[in-house]
């Protein structure tokens, strides 16, 4: 089982590269745990804030002898943030524990999902086949890394915002279809 607490001592020492590796392996689990909140809170914001809080509290984190303690803490932080946001936004009647319990059980039994080497190989191949404009839009989105509003990203590559978004959509759909043709299911569930 993959135990991401192997990164803990480096994270506590302030190693952001180690934290990046930890986040890269944790993100899918944290995001999936928030699916039941999808219509109620901006889950991307919750994921980002969760990671920031984990970075801040990591020096005080105490291991409990079980693997992936920091990830389990992240799941609790994410859930609490989401619940807090639903209350602030008044967007939830009841909050179910079912998905959170399934994610927790999955994490205990199998650990976080390791990167799929087949996916990387296949997607690099598929990206090379992307038509020009969708490829440009995808590259621009990736390079921006969330640092700029799409309006600015679009402007840099000479597209209107709507055209840019349409091309990002085309790129994503093309890649998913290409991956499926290569036998890779990018939407495989972990819970």
């Amino acid at each position: 089982m993959l135990d991401l607490d192997s990164h803990l001592s480096a994270i506590v020492a302030g190693d952001t590269a180690a934290f990046g590796r930890w986040m890269a392996s944790s993100e899918h689990t944290v995001r999936d745990s928030l699916r039941s909140f999808a219509a109620r809170v901006d889950t991307e914001s919750v994921v980002q804030e969760t990671f920031l809080r984990v970075w801040q509290v990591a020096p005080r984190f105490q291991r409990d002898g079980r693997p992936n303690g920091l990830l389990r803490l992240a799941l609790r932080i994410a859930r609490n943030l989401a619940i807090s946001e639903t209350r602030r936004l008044k967007t939830a009647a009841t909050v179910s524990d079912e998905l959170e319990n399934r994610v927790a059980v999955e994490l205990d039994e199998r650990g976080p999902r390791p990167p799929d080497p087949m996916l990387r190989q296949a997607i690099v191949q598929c990206r090379q086949r992307l038509p020009d404009k969708p490829g440009q839009a995808l590259t621009a989105r990736l390079e921006s890394a969330g640092g700029d509003h799409d309006r600015e990203v679009a402007r840099r590559i000479g597209m209107t915002r709507n055209t840019f978004l349409q091309n990002v959509t085309r790129a994503r759909r093309f890649l998913v279809k290409c991956l499926e043709e290569l036998g890779v299911n990018v939407n495989a569930e972990i819970v």
Partner: protein, 94 residues
Amino acid sequence: MAAGDPMDPPPMDPKDRELLVEAAASAWRPRSPAASPGGLPMHPAWYDLDDEGREQAFEVTRTSRVMEAALDDDGQSTTVRAVLARIAAAQGAP
């Protein structure tokens, strides 16, 4: 209100929803405290989406992040890179 009540707002145009979904799937989020006083920053596109659109945005984001991480040499999605940039900014890194 009963189902199909004439007072219900009209359903969102699918093309408009698609654009908003893709926008909300970006890792960009506003940084100004005024953007969401007392709470987490919300993407304006996410705010404008109906429930169906928000569910779609979640799935699109999920798929996109998996692909982004697979395309990145360090296995990092745009979410991870956005968080690292915020940490670096807070530390005063150049």
